[in-house]
Amino acid sequence: MERIPILKMGPFLLVTIQVDMHDQLAITLQDDLTNRIAKERSRGVLLDISALDVVDSFIGRMIANISGMARVLDAVTVVVGMQPAVAITLVELGLPLEGVHTALNVEKGMELLRRRLAADAA
């Protein structure tokens, strides 16, 4: 079965969506990711969706859900690399993903996570 790989980078997890998302894949990802966060005791999740150029309300909600689930497991989710068209679509769909952190690219997202981790430690 098709799966989206979840890479461990120190205290963070990196999820790069490179294929077209469909509903089953999204559900599997939620499952895998929550398991992985619990197992690795990760503090942050980077969700790179730069290759995603089509979204619907389901995928939009999935992103919000992942962020919510991660928060419950004490991990911060940063969505990075959203395409302009995707951003506009999500806003028009009425899914502005309140409470989800965003960054322009993986680098900036990683920086954001590090800053938050440092702030927590302090």
């Binding site: 969505v79 990075v80 690399g81 959203m82 395409q83 302009p84 995707v86 951003a87 506009i88 999500l90 806003v91 028009e92 502005p96 993903l97 965003t102 960054a103 322009l104 690219n105 900036k108 997202g109």
Partner: protein, 298 residues
């Protein structure tokens, strides 16, 4: 069809005389715009039109000008209307090109049908209906070409009116001038987001000093743009909110939420610099604070 063919036949037999009379009529008319149209051009247009009408009326009759036989005439009229609309003719002046054909045509008819009042009445009616159709078609074409000009200008305006400027590393600004409608917001949003991707900016300032009024719709458009920018991973600051607009926003009950708003672009820029970890220092001579230029990046 006998009655119809008589006008057609008359045009055929007297094409030259009709053309002469018609051009004289047009040159003498009060609506003649000698400043916009040369006489030679007018003669050429009239000649081409009349010969096309002559040909089409032989083939298709004058009952209707919608058929394929009249294709050529319609095309001539369309081109004529377009060129005159661009030259600045009014619709009436453009339509007069066709309507001025009535007088010579009627004169010719009454000469031909002298003594036969009934036939003359019928023919005059036929000719009137025929010319009116051509005239109305001309007006319609005139209108259409005017509309296409307006449409083109609108798109040009849209493209012109949304420049995104880079103020600093990581900071872009979007000075908005003019009314914000859905169409424009869409373009504004797209250009801003594209620019953010291009420059990797993390802060965007939307300056609405040039937006004359902010109603609920405009506010909603602005909030959408801010939300989309945030989704891209950049912060958005709205600046240039005039006192009246601040009052309107509150009176309308618009909730700007957690969007940072500033009165002037300068204030917004300072906030942006602070967030980007840069600062601008005023009037510190270089020798006193060596190495600390006018700007310093953290």
């Amino acid at each position: 069809m006998k009655s119809a063919s008589r006008v057609a036949g008359l045009i055929k037999h007297h094409e030259k005389d009709l053309l002469g009379d018609w051009i004289k009529e047009q040159l003498g008319a009060a609506s003649m715009r000698g400043d916009l149209l040369k006489e030679a051009d007018l003669r050429e247009q009239s000649r081409a039109f009349l010969s096309a009408v002559q040909e089409a009326s032989q083939k298709g009759g004058i009952d209707s000008i919608d058929g394929p036989a009249w294709e050529n005439v319609r095309q001539i009229l369309a081109e004529l209307s377009k060129s005159r609309a661009l030259a600045g003719f009014s619709p009436a002046e453009t339509a007069m090109f066709v309507f001025s054909l009535k007088q010579p045509l009627f004169a010719r008819l009454s000469k031909d049908l002298k003594g036969d009042a009934e036939a003359l009445g019928d023919e005059l009616w036929n000719a009137t209906v025929f010319i009116d159709k051509l005239g109305l078609y001309t007006t319609e074409m005139h209108q259409k070409s005017r509309e296409s000009v307006i449409e083109r200008q609108q798109t040009e305006l849209l493209e012109l009116s949304t420049p995104v400027v880079e103020l600093w590393d990581d900071i872009v600004a979007l000075p908005l001038v003019g009314t914000l409608d859905s169409n424009r917001t869409q373009i504004v949003m797209e250009t801003l987001l594209q620019k953010i991707v291009q420059t990797g900016a993390s802060i965007a300032i939307i300056d609405i000093t040039g937006v004359p009024t902010v109603d609920t719709l405009v506010a909603q458009h602005l909030l959408k743009t801010v939300a989309a920018t945030r989704l891209m991973g950049a912060d958005c600051i709205i600046s240039g909110i005039r006192p009246q607009i601040a009052q309107t926003i509150v009176h309308l009950g618009v909730n700007l939420g957690e969007v940072t708003t500033k009165a002037t672009l300068a204030d917004a820029f300072q906030v942006a610099l602070k967030r980007a970890g840069a600062k601008i220092m005023k009037g510190v001579p270089a020798q006193e604070k060596a190495g600390d230029g006018d700007a310093e990046r953290a």
